[in-house]
Symmetry: C2
Subunit: 143 residues, 2 copies
């Protein structure tokens, strides 16, 4: 059992984005930001919470994911039209999508995909500005 002191680093982190450091948010933040980059769905995070002995409802997991995303702590990745994926890596980067398994992986940062974003603006319809450019490289097992 992790000791979640009111004034822990994680609690301050949440407060800094105007989210009360509640028991549930602290626990979920621990699962998400504890160890390296991850890609989760609401369901997978909920399962992970259950496994870790964290008591939290699925609705609260959805709430937390959206609140964290709105606060800039997470980024939503759109690769599947039936499930929402969230990425703990928020810097501008792009993804591999494994069609066979439904898994996601970051494209190594040295790939120059980011350069593409710079190309786009010239062709924007009038009155529109860039929100972001998402690139998904879909892969399948080689035959």
């Amino acid at each position: 059992m992790v000791d979640m002191k009111t004034n822990s680093k994680a609690a301050e982190h949440l407060r800094s984005v105007n989210l009360r450091p509640t028991r549930q948010r602290l626990a979920l933040a621990g699962l998400l930001f504890g160890q390296g980059d991850q890609h989760v769905t609401a369901e997978s995070l909920y399962d992970k919470a259950q496994t870790s002995g964290i008591k939290v409802s699925l609705a609260t997991v959805y709430n937390a994911l959206h609140q964290f995303t709105a606060a800039g702590l997470l980024r939503q990745v759109i690769v599947d039209s039936s499930r929402s994926y969230f990425d703990t890596k928020i810097e501008n980067h792009h993804h591999f999508y494994f069609e066979d398994t439904g898994e996601i992986a970051d494209i190594p940062g040295d790939w120059d995909g980011n350069r593409i974003a710079a190309i786009a603006p010239a062709n924007f319809p009038a009155g529109m500005e860039l929100s972001r450019v998402d690139i998904v490289v879909r892969l399948r097992r080689a035959e």
Copy 2:
């Protein structure tokens, strides 16, 4: 009322991809391929059918969209994690997504987005091959 002769061009088109030219598929094909490129959802196509006086069930619209997609007549576009969009333009191209309205538009063909796809392969994980590269340029109203 359009006269859908059994041996019409549209009927042959469907037969050529091993789909029986049924009343419903012919009618939906007429709505989809009649006039220029479009982006539809199951619901929007169903509504358009109703408006046009075509009697067809929503389940059949879903079936037809997937069958047309499997046959290469349509292409699925993934830009929203809650709805499936289908594009009547099947050539390799990319999309603008208007976050404010949820609408989709093709990025003009002279944009060099396709060139980006060619950059990717070098970094593929072992044993994987490219299915396709999807680029979505997300736009919002300029403030």
